[in-house]
């Protein structure tokens, strides 16, 4: 646990600073009310009314997020494997090649089906 307390210290410091800044900007800055100023920016035209969060957005982002998750998971397994690779040697290599090949199959599928194309 001792290894982690310093991180807590730094995190507290940073949080304090950030929160302080956010509050300061509200306190220090001038306040001149202007209705147009509070509208969201749309190059000067009347902004289209939208729900918070902007409503819906392209499916593409979901797909990217999902692909990311899949590969991130792969990385989860690669790290411990890499760290202890020297002990496993050949066995580790063979097994991991099988693993990577499996992931690669999915990857090839996604690629070919246009999952990696952004348009």
């Amino acid at each position: 646990m001792e290894l982690y307390t310093p991180i807590l210290a730094l995190a507290l410091l940073a949080t304090g600073f950030a929160v302080f800044s956010v509050i300061m900007s509200a306190v220090v800055g001038p306040k001149r009310y202007n209705r147009a100023k509070l509208d969201s920016y749309e190059c000067g035209i009347e902004p289209t009314p939208q729900p918070v969060g902007g409503g819906r957005f392209p499916v593409k982002y979901f797909i990217t997020a999902m692909l990311f998750i899949v590969f991130d998971i792969e990385i989860i397994f690669l790290y411990p494997w890499a760290v202890h690779f020297d002990q496993m040697a050949l066995f580790g290599l063979v097994e991991m090649v099988l693993f990577i090949a499996t992931v690669f199959v999915a990857y090839a599928y996604v690629w070919r089906r246009g999952g990696l194309d952004w348009d």
Partner: protein
């Protein structure tokens, strides 16, 4: 260690209650993920208690599974959402519940 287990139990219960009471499919789904993460916490805590690493390894696998679930779950929810423009579980009620 007990605190961790208790915490995981609380998280698990929150997730569980969330699944049962919420009506938005995505929220329900997030509650399920919360349950899985509560499990992870329990696994890691028990791993520490027993001094072996089985629990930690399990946590890895659980993450994988959770990720796969996310991918499939979001795909299903999105399809429904696009068809019906709503993610409420109640709206999806062609089938008798």
């Amino acid at each position: 260690m007990t605190q961790y287990v208790v915490l995981s139990a609380i998280l698990f219960t929150i997730g569980c209650v969330g699944v049962l009471t919420r009506r938005n499919a995505i929220v329900v789904f997030m509650c399920v993920e919360l349950m899985l993460n509560a499990c992870n916490l329990a696994f890691v805590a028990f791993a520490r208690q027993h001094g072996n690493l089985d629990g930690q390894i399990t946590a890895f696998f659980v993450m994988v599974v959770a990720a796969a679930e996310v991918v499939i779950g979001l795909a299903i929810i999105m399809t429904i959402f696009r068809t019906r423009r709503s993610a409420s579980v109640d709206d999806a009620s062609l089938l008798k519940y």
